[in-house]
Assembly symmetry: C2
C-alpha cells in the first residue's frame, strides 16, 4: 500500500512491491495473475475498504454531524500519518500508465464527498451547500497533504483538518 502511494504507479516497481509485501515476485504473480494492475487494484480495494470503515461509515452513522466530522478527522490523522503520507488517490492521478484507475479514483472521491455532504444534510444544510462544502473539505485535505509533504511540515495537514469542523458546521 505504502509503496504505490509514495512512489506513484510508475515509480512502484515490482521489486519494491515485492519487498514491501514480503512476497517474492513469483508469489505476487501467483496471487495477482494479471500482474501489476491486479496488485494496484488490490491496493485500491484496500483503500476503499479502509475508507468505507473508518471514514464513510462514521460520516453516515447517526449522531451529530460535528461528531461525525471529528471521527473522520481522527481516522485521517492515523491514515495519513498526521500528514506525512501522500494520498493514493492523488498519486494515481499522475501519469498515463495509471489511467485505467481513473474511474475508480473518481468514484472514491465522489463517495467521499457524498458521505460528507450526507452528514451535512442530516444537520440541516441544504443539498447544494452541502455538496460545495464537502468538496471544499476534500480540497483542503488533499491540498494540505501536498503542501505538508512538500514543506516537511505535517502541521499544515493538521491545521487543515482542524479547520473542517467550522467549514462543515450547520
Amino acid at each position: 500500500m505504502s509503496v504505490v502511494r509514495s512512489q506513484g504507479y510508475d515509480g512502484a516497481s515490482l521489486a519494491q512491491l515485492s519487498k514491501a509485501s514480503g512476497l517474492g515476485k513469483s508469489s505476487l504473480y501467483h496471487h495477482f495473475p494479471e500482474g501489476k494492475d491486479d496488485m494496484v487494484a488490490a491496493v485500491l480495494d484496500h483503500l476503499e475498504t479502509t475508507l468505507d470503515a473508518t471514514v464513510f461509515a462514521p460520516l453516515r452513522a447517526p449522531g451529530p454531524p460535528a461528531t461525525r466530522i471529528k471521527r473522520m478527522n481522527g481516522s485521517l490523522l492515523v491514515f495519513y500519518r498526521e500528514g506525512r503520507e501522500a494520498c493514493l488517490l492523488a498519486s494515481l492521478g499522475i501519469g498515463d500508465s495509471s489511467r485505467r484507475f481513473h474511474p475508480r479514483v473518481k468514484q472514491l472521491f465522489r463517495r467521499w464527498i457524498e458521505a460528507i455532504a450526507h452528514a451535512l444534510r442530516d444537520g440541516g444544510v441544504p443539498r447544494g451547500q452541502a455538496q460545495l462544502r464537502a468538496e471544499e473539505a476534500i480540497v483542503r485535505i488533499e491540498g494540505s497533504l501536498v503542501l505538508a509533504r512538500s514543506l516537511d511540515d505535517p502541521a499544515i495537514f493538521q491545521r487543515a483538518l482542524k479547520s473542517l469542523p467550522e467549514l462543515l458546521a450547520s
Copy 2:
C-alpha cells in the same frame, strides 16, 4: 514542461521528453549533459521564471492587495489551463527518484506563500495571520487541482480561485 507535470518524474521517459521538446535524444543530451536531472531542473527553472513573472511579482507589486490576488488568479487560470493541468511541484513530490528536487520544490512553495503573505501584510494583516492565510490559499490551489483533475471537473479549481479574494481580504 507539460510532460513532467502530467507524468511525474518516473513516468516522464526520455522518449516522451524528446517528443515533447521536438529534439532528438542526442540533442537533449547535448544540451543537458547531466541527463534527465538536467532536463527536469530546466523544467523547474522555467516554472520558477514563470511564477516569478506572473505570480510572485504581481503579488509584490504596489497596489491594493485585492488587485494583486486577482492578477495571481488570472495567471493561475492560464498556467493551469483552468484546472486541467497538474501542478509540477506536486508531481515532483511523488517517488524517491525525484527526491533531489525536493529542496527546490520546498523553496518555491515557500516563496509563493511569502509573496501572498507580503501582499496581505501590505494590506494591514498581521504577520502570523498573513502567513496562515497564504498557506491556506496554496492548500486550496493545490487541493483543487488534484480534485478537479480526478473528478474531470475543472470548475472545482475555478471555484477555489474564486474563494481566494475573500480568504485573503484584509
